[in-house]
């Protein structure tokens, strides 16, 4: 009965590879996010989708492409991985947006690029 689930939890890959992280929420929320947490624990928003529509796209390289097939899923595909992409990626969801309530986070996907 996990609320926000991400897979995989750990991902180790070589530079130049392409990888995907999947996220699903069973809370009935309409807004989903991807955040990146670096080695200093700083959390930065990357993307936000509302009802499958992209509403926030921070200055993220084009190598990162989010996809939301339906409002319960938000996947993140990363092309041509670089060393600097190593981080923990968190998916989150909320009902109605952060102006009205809390975000629910997944457990994170730790990406290590060698």
């Amino acid at each position: 009965d996990t609320a926000v689930s991400q897979t995989p939890k750990y991902l180790v890959t070589q530079m130049g590879n392409d990888k995907s992280i999947k996220c699903e929420q069973n809370l009935g929320h309409d807004t989903m996010y991807w955040y990146k947490q670096d080695s200093k624990k700083f959390l930065k928003i990357m993307f936000s989708y509302n009802n499958k529509e992209l509403i926030i796209n921070e200055t993220v390289p084009n190598r990162f492409s989010p996809k939301s097939p339906d409002k319960a899923h938000l996947n993140l595909h990363i092309n041509s991985l670089e060393l600097g992409d190593s981080a923990v990626y968190f998916c989150a969801s909320t009902l109605g947006g952060p102006n009205t309530g809390e975000l629910f986070f997944g457990e994170g996907s730790r990406l290590t690029v060698l």
């Binding site: 926000v4 996010y33 955040y35 200093k40 624990k41 700083f42 959390l43 930065k44 928003i45 936000s48 509403i55 926030i56 968190f90 989150a92 947006g97 952060p98 102006n99 309530g101 809390e102 975000l103 629910f104 986070f105 997944g106 457990e107 994170g108």
Partner: protein
Amino acid sequence: SQQGEEDPQALSIQEGENATMNCSYKTSINNLQWYRQNSGRGLVHLILIRSNEREKHSGRLRVTLDTSKKSSSLLITASRAADTASYFCATVEVQGAQKLVFGQGTRLTINP
């Protein structure tokens, strides 16, 4: 851009003592939220305080908000070893996209 800045960056106290963490931010906000992150885990929401509120309580947690000083504090009373975690404040700005922007966090260690 980073909105909130937390102080201290790290705090270590004895079990049973109170822990106070502070957060400062730069722009006008709709609300401010506090989250906890245990090591290797996701973030968990603790409290949301709106810009027209000055104080909120939840169990052993007390949050204050001073919009004139653009600052907030989180007080954990009677700390327990299980409170050991990183604590983040996050704000939703009045202007711009509705997004939650996080501070750098305070690493709290409760010594038994």
